[in-house]
Symmetry: C2
Subunit: 280 residues, 2 copies
Amino acid sequence: MGFYLLFLVVSLKKIEMNNRSFFLKTIAPVGSLSLIDVDGFATESKSLSKEKVSVWSKPKIIFFDVNETLLDLEPLKKSVVAKLGGNKELGTLWFTTMLQYSLVVTVSSQYFDFGRIGAATLMMVAKNNEIELSEDEAKEAVEPMLSLKPHSEVKEALALLKKAGYLLVSFSNSSNKAVKVQLDHAGITSFFDQILSVEDYGKYKPHLEVYHWAARKMNVENSDCMLVAAHGWDVGGAKWAGWQTVFITRPGQQLFPLAITPDIIENDLLKFAVKILKSS
Amino acid sequence: MGFYLLFLVVSLKKIEMNNRSFFLKTIAPVGSLSLIDVDGFATESKSLSKEKVSVWSKPKIIFFDVNETLLDLEPLKKSVVAKLGGNKELGTLWFTTMLQYSLVVTVSSQYFDFGRIGAATLMMVAKNNEIELSEDEAKEAVEPMLSLKPHSEVKEALALLKKAGYLLVSFSNSSNKAVKVQLDHAGITSFFDQILSVEDYGKYKPHLEVYHWAARKMNVENSDCMLVAAHGWDVGGAKWAGWQTVFITRPGQQLFPLAITPDIIENDLLKFAVKILKSS
């Protein structure tokens, strides 16, 4: 036993700070001591590494990011790209600039509606490319954000999770008003037990306090929460806030290499739902 | 007099929250009451709006952002674009993503070196474009950041301000180590009375607290500080923090439409130096 414990202590060091919470969590439910054998670190470390994305505990609440994660942003991107002279990369640049400025206002202790930040940053990107957009034109270009369709597998996945008794909460940077229109238009409102917008707290995701606010709002601990999102910054922030995280690998989205690895990674929501239901 | 005061009160409302600090400041030095005439709001409002970018008070310290504001980023952008298959827009997307993630870590109560965030986000942008970069390759691509040249007018402008007795401080998101190498290589270290990096506070600009920390560090009030920067988010954040701001309109940079208008806008540093010296 002492021999095993020695490996356990040394391996904790090997896994480093980033994955400590994961490791500590594995010990109880999976019985990681049994993974350790006399072949030493290599085997043990490899086993853990293989298991890394599949060890999680059943959450009390599953939170879902909305834009990109549940809803397909393609029509919005098309509309914006059309205003930017048809250059696809400029559409991605706009979306990134919008996210950057949502955090610029957050760290400046300011708050503006997400749609307004979207229009303002679209005007900036346009101007940098010698395209003058009025505020009204910019607002019009981002309007398709309100009428996006869900990705093809989303309804089936949400229905499965709901049927299994999971509490589902949508948790978005969109304003209260916008997210209600979005979910209604997508026909998925009824799946959610609660619809949360960061607007009520006044700071944008991934501010640490916003995740903690959402957990308090739902009367659970941070460790009872699981966020499902398609953005590296969102799963990164939620994990730093003490939540479990699920990354859905939508095209054009990457994990942030300096963040903690998510607990689960799947390329669509249905695969995630099936996985979590199998293990429940 | 009562008549003028009525206009004064109503016009404060018209100018809205965003520009209140500007307006309050104008009253004393410029004597804005004299701007108000019986033609009513239109004239008064127009006069103020015309004056908006030229009313400021002499600062005790002038702070300078470094990357883009003093140093020409072109060689860095070229190096990064070369790794991204030659697509110029992807270079801009990378820089914006780096800034976004500097704030992602800030709002998550984390801190990583700016160069490391640069390399990590370059790997993300590359992967989204089906280009696999190792961490070493990404680090190599962002290395030109350490050996940038100053924009052509920078030395003359700094020399003028220094000769006139202004206290000059560089204030950068680059790490202490990096910014010292940068300023040395550019041959402009000797102009600065102090070299500040956000690294010492552990949050990236434009976090409100970082500007307040810099003012405290220099033993002055926020109202004694003036920031010169070429990024809309930097002058926006500094203004919200209670500083005076100067926007240098480098190519590819725009003001954030939802921020407070800077006190001075010029298209190069020399023009700013001449303007401030004329009025001193």
